[in-house]
Structure formats: C-alpha cells, structure tokens
Amino acid sequence: MAILEVQNIQKSFGKNEVLKGISFELEKGEVMTIIGSSGSGKTTLLRCLNYLEVPDNGRIVVNGEAVFNSEEKENYTEANIRDLRLHFGLVFQSFNLFPQYTVLENIMLAPTLKVKEGIKNKSIPSQEKNREMSCIREKALELLEMVGLSDKVDAYPFQLSGGQQQRVAIARALALKPDILCFDEPTSALDPELTVEVLRVIKDLKKTGTTMIIVTHEMEFARNVSDRVIYMRDGLIEMDGTPEEVFDLSKNEHLNKFLNSGNL
C-alpha cells in the first residue's frame, strides 16, 4: 500500500488558481522530486501537505488514514491539525532555525515540548520524564552525527554556514520522526560548494529508507537521487515517471524546453 496518496488537490489564492487538481501516490522509502518553473505550484503543493496552506479541494491519505479531506474541512481543530501534520516534516529554503537556541536546542525544542505536554495531559506518566528527555537528547545527538555536525552541538545558528544550518534544519525535522520528509528547494539559498554537503545528507537519508518529496532546481541531483520525478506546469502534473523517463525519454515539449533552459 502506498504511504501517501494525494487526490485531486486544488488551491486558489483569490482568482489565481495555483493547483488545479494534483494526484499522485508515493511508496514507502521512495524519493520523489518535483521539478518545474517558478509559479508552477511546487511549493504550494508542499505547503498543502504540511498544512501551511489549506487546499480548497482534495484528499491527502497517509498510511490509509485520511489526514486531510476537504469535505471535512470545518471539522479540523488546531489540536488535531497539529497531530496530523506531524506525518510530514518540512525543510525550508531559508532554513528558519531559531536564532536564540543552540544547534542541539533547535533540534530538541519541539520533541521536548511534546513530552512536557504529554506529561501535563497524563498521556505520558511523569516518572518517565527523565527517560523521555534523555531519549530526545540521544536521538538529537545521533541525528547531528548523521548530518556530520557533532562538533557544532553548542553553536548558535549565526555561527554556522548556510549549508551547516540547512543540515541542522534537516536533523530538526527528522527529530519528530515524520513519515514523509519534504524539502522546499533546500539548496536554493546556498553556494555550489555548500549545496554539495546538503545533497550528500539527502542521499544518505535515501539509503536509510526515508520517504522524501523534494522540490528542487538541481536537475543533476534530481536525476541521481530520485526514484520518481514529477514535472509540474501551471498547477498540474505534466509528467510523472522515473528519472530516465522524464529526463531522457520525454517527448513533452514544455518539459524539454524547461530542461534545456538551464543548460545554456
């Protein structure tokens, strides 16, 4: 069974129809990249998955559970949206680390707050608190090692390069164990040499079986890392296939024009 089913997602901002009906399925462990020119709706799609935008229409199903259904839009409360959105993680183009916290604190903040809430509403017994907290810390340190930043545990974001900040942001998103990790142009704000270190982390994640959806302009990377590539144009999926199908064998005029525009 697919880990993620997206069915006919539509979203307009005023009169501007940004998503005109997006549907796809994603298998567990699959890496899917979304390519397309600016304004094609890639970022809006990711934001819909993460509840940063509410779709006007459509359904989102994770592991067979409908996490969003436009027909029940009125029934969603802030509390259950919070639970539902944790199926997804999101890494932003501009990192958005919390500047007043150290690297480790950035990663531990959300899980810690979750445990504290659990203890308050008694879903976690209070004698478990210390154990839970040390688990969070251990997990955070483990994630930092994975992204290669064990030596930056106590650094503040302003002391890090963009690439390092983005790797912290990835670790922060992973700390909540999302089913699907989304990346919104994770390297667009980075120099080429810093891009490489972020892409390496994403490749490592693929090896561990992390399910990922990546919006990117790095075509070479998309070709190397993806199991699936989706080409979006004008709020619709124009092509959906393996990297070979999309990059090499496509006869789609718009896609070929888009791919060639970068190779001048």
Partner: protein, 214 residues
C-alpha cells in the same frame, strides 16, 4: 536652608518620582502587550478601535491627560474618581501602554513568517510558538527603543506636579517660593543619576542578549 535640608526634601520628592516611575512601568509593560495584540487583531473592528485609541492617547499631551483623568470625572459625577496620585498613575499607565504597544507591534511584526512556520510544521501550538520562539527575538529587537521610552518616562514623571503631586521638581520649586533658586537646578543631578543607572542596566541587558544574532 542648608544643602542637606534641601537634599532631604528633594529625596522625599524623589520617592514620589520613583513610585510613579515604577508603578507605571510595571502596569504599562503588560498592558501595552495586550493593546498591541488588539491593534494586530484579525478581527478588524477591534484593530480599528485600538488604533484610534492609540492615536488619541499619543496625540494628546500627557499633561492634559493627567488633568482630564483628575478633573473630568468630578465634573460629570460630582466627585473625583481617583485620588491625585491615582489619577497620575492611571493617565501615565494608559499613555505609556500605548507607546509600548507600538514598539511591541513593530517588534512582533519584524519577526519573519518563516519562524512561525518552522514552529508550526514542528507541531507547536500558537502559544508555544509565541513564548518559545518569537518572544525572545522580539525582546532583543525592542530593547533599544524600549530603553529610550523608559528613559523618557523618568523625566515625564515631572508632569505629575500639574495636579499638585510633590515630586522632585515640585519639591525644588517649593524652595523657590522662599527665593531659593538653586534647588531647582540641583534636581538635574537626581535625574542624571537615575537615567545613568537605567542606561547601565539596559546596556547590561543588551550585552546579555548579544550571545546570538538574527
């Protein structure tokens, strides 16, 4: 009238000055936050009403506001609503809360949307996002304009004498009735020391928050 006699007299005035300063600060700081939330409210009528209120309060001299709070209830109800000191505090708190609210608003709105969104996708509540992520950054940003406003408050306390509160300046002026002018100039020393200490304190705060950059 010796130097010490005058000094003691002025110190008694300073007590009133400090009291007005401290009470205004303690009450206006949280009230300002409430007003800033009002002016940023998504419920438009509330936002408009708050903005008009802030415009009126910032648009009318504080001295006049003190007079209004003290005398106008007397005209309407036949009896004053507040004591002299109570009137000063009420007028000062409302006035300063409005100024603070604008500083808070500027600070809160200067925090990037990305900070809120990062908190949201990490499953944090609105309250958690405000208190754990946004507030600290706001505090750092508004510290300089706040210091400025608070230093102004020190000197604005002198307006209380318009309804016969004997603060430092009034205490000095009482000597002028006996032909003694120098105590009035001497009050400057009190203000300078007061403001000097505050400046040192704010400097310390700013330094403390310098451990990170945004």
């Amino acid at each position: 009238m010796g130097f010490w006699e005058v000094t003691l007299s002025l110190l008694a005035g300073l007590e009133q000055t400090c009291l007005i300063f401290a009470l205004t600060l303690v009450l206006a700081l949280p009230l300002g936050l409430v007003i800033s939330f009002g002016s940023m409210s998504k419920f438009k009528p509330l936002a408009y009403i708050t903005k008009i209120f802030v415009w009126i309060i910032r648009g009318v001299p504080l001295m006049l506001q003190v007079i209004i709070v003290f005398y106008v209830p007397g005209f309407i109800f036949g009896t004053p609503l507040f004591s002299r000191f109570g009137s000063v505090i009420a007028a000062f708190v409302i006035n300063y809360a409005c100024y603070f609210s604008e500083i808070y608003r500027g600070g809160i709105q200067s925090i990037s949307k990305g900070q809120y969104e990062a908190g949201q996708v990490l499953g944090m509540t609105k309250t958690q996002i405000f208190f754990k992520i946004v507030l600290m950054q706001v505090v750092k940003r508004i510290l300089p304009p706040m210091s400025n406003e608070i230093i102004t408050l020190v000197k604005d306390t002198a307006l209380a004498r318009v309804i016969m509160i004997v603060e430092v300046i009034q205490a000095a002026q009482d000597f002028a009735a006996y032909g003694l002018m120098w105590p009035l100039f001497y009050t400057a020393v009190f203000y300078l020391i007061f403001v000097g200490l505050l400046s040192l304190l704010f400097g310390r705060f700013e330094k403390k928050l310098n451990y990170y950059k945004t």
